[in-house]
């Protein structure tokens, strides 16, 4: 009897180190029929298996329009992710998915898009950004606010030049701390580029920042007006708490703000009970919710 909880095998084709503790893995299905059948929405996740160690829910971080492969960006924080980090190209993992409800790419067409990401929270948003840039005629302007702990903790730095080159895209970067710069020293920091942060080597050319402080210190620079803007947000809960509060103050409505949540998950199918927040299963009903959907949940979300 074939069961939903049994993973398929996928092969690692490439590994890129993003930061000290974070890497991006590229995958393909050895089975051509599975490869053809696999499709996903940005913001969805897979359950990745290292056999003998366990499973972990990990966001898809590539753009679904790329059909030759898909990617996961993974931070080494627990048993499963540590075991995954030891694997090399040619190695195999178990995978089941894609699961969950991703970003509302259809509903937000015709709107300006404000992306607010913190740390590895940029991973599930990279695919959404890719989809928007692939069909810019369907969306308005795109502003990406990304906060990392330090310039060395920024992920996807190789994407920044491409995003910036787009006429309707603004990318604004903050870091919680940078060598020799005091928090709040925004103007000074803005003047510094890769040279100040992580040297001038070409691979790190993307590492720069506009402000020092949490991602919300970038809010005064935002040009998009609340009226016709959808917000896509993912990051640590404390970041999202302050970011949502400030956006509401600025006049954004809860319905316009989409957040991606993280919870412990075992099944990913809305059965095992681990990810419940009140009556809501984060795995199946989310992980992407409009803030209006989760604001009044009994358990504090963030």
């Amino acid at each position: 009897m074939r069961i939903l909880l049994q993973p398929e095998l996928v092969e690692i084709t490439e590994v890129r180190q993003e930061t000290r503790d974070t890497f991006t893995m590229r995958f393909r299905f050895p089975s051509p029929s599975l490869a053809a059948a696999f499709g996903f929405q940005p913001g969805q996740f897979n359950m990745l298996t290292v056999f003998g160690v366990g499973e972990a829910p990990i966001s898809l971080s590539s753009c679904p329009r790329q059909q030759e492969y898909f990617e996961h960006t993974i931070r080494t924080v627990g048993n499963v992710t540590r075991a995954i980090s030891r694997l090399q190209p040619g190695g195999r993992l178990g995978l089941r998915g894609p699961y969950g409800r991703g970003w509302p790419m259809e509903e937000i067409k015709g709107h300006d898009i404000l992306v607010v990401a913190g740390g590895i929270g940029l991973a599930p948003l990279r695919g959404a950004i890719g989809c928007i840039l692939a069909e810019p005629e369907n969306y308005g302007r795109l502003e990406i606010l990304y906060g990392a702990r330090s310039p060395e903790d920024q992920i996807f730095t190789y994407e920044y030049a491409g995003w910036r080159a787009h006429p309707r895209v603004a990318l604004r970067l903050s870091v919680d701390r940078a060598p020799g710069i005091h928090p709040g020293a925004g103007e000074d920091a803005a003047a510094r580029t890769g040279a100040a942060a992580a040297g001038t080597d070409p691979p790190d050319a993307g590492r720069r920042f506009d402000r020092v402080g949490p991602v919300t210190t970038l809010f005064p620079d935002v040009e998009l007006e609340p009226a016709n803007t959808a917000v896509l947000m993912c990051g640590p809960e404390v970041m999202m708490r302050f970011a949502v509060a400030q956006l509401l103050e600025r006049g954004f409505r809860a319905e316009q703000i989409y957040v991606s949540l993280e919870r412990r998950m075992e099944c990913g199918l809305g059965k095992c009970g681990h990810c419940l927040i009140g009556p809501v299963y984060v795995c199946k009903d989310g992980p992407v919710f409009s803030y209006a959907e989760i604001r009044d949940l009994p358990e504090e979300v963030f």
Partner: protein
Amino acid sequence: MTQYWVIDRPRAEAWLRGLTQKQEVLVPAARSGVWAFLPLEAGLAIGWDGANPLLPAKGAFFPQTDPLFRFRREEGKLNIEPVAEAVRERVLFGIRPCDARSLALLDKVFGGPFADSQYQARRAATLLVAWACDHPRPTCFCQSVGVDPTTAPEADVMFAPLPRESRPAQGSEQAPHQREPGSEMQYLVWAQTQRGQSWLESGMDYLARAQAGQVEAWQETAAGMANAHPLELDMEGVTDRLRQRFDDSMWEELSARCLGCGICTFVCPTCHCFDIADWQRGQEGLRFKCWDSCSFRDFTLMAGGHNPRPTKKERIRQRFLHKLLYFVDRYGAVACVGCGRCVEQCPVHLDITEVILRVKGGEWANV
């Protein structure tokens, strides 16, 4: 028109034991002193007179541990093998109306989108024979949560104990002193589904037609049982009141007693949270599902260290609100069948009926 049959205990025993030749028959029984639903086999006594088993019937469909698949590394290649489990036709005999209701609730969780095929296969393969419950315990409160102890609508067949005066001897040649205790017991039997009807037809060697007055005698007994349960709760409005009590100091107070042992969740017929884990030895391993408990600290602990329910207060609140509020919001029913197992088993007397009473603003009589 329902057809009623009568069977005495020795004949029922003979029928069930005969069935084990070709299929599994699960019955209430004790092993090492623990009451559960166990496969009937020679030497195992059917717990006719016992109380509801400690371990609920959910385990027959949602086992405590449930293998999912095996994996094996051979010459650098990894092979995944499904765990071959042929789900055979079987009979689950002797579940009470409370446990039968719990299966209807679990069906809501394990059915629907992403249905659990193992659970569903076991449900489909199992004929349910329920007992009208004439053994209420001091902790039973099924009637308060809408379960009728005299009937289980979810079952294929009902067995109801007949009152003694309506039991004409059923052709027993043995003198009374030679009989097994309880062998004089007779049961009124009727089918509630087509499947149950077919099952009864296969057992006609053992069944006799109900005689005049026996059905009425049972109905009279049933009417008497309607209010027989010692513990009575008024559930009216509890769910809505709980919506307002999320930040109540009651949770902190209750959690001070809680040991976090999880026994309430394991003996609960509706608790369905599970974990998925790997067991590995050398080049082989097994992935399995097993019961988990929201009482445990690591139930919500994430790899990065964040825990949305960091203390016992949040965890105990989750257990009660999941049963009495969230499950109602999600599936339209209270996830408690009033079996009283958690009330009886909790080592520190954390009592769901106390929570309900307090939410209703009533006094807890026994404290």
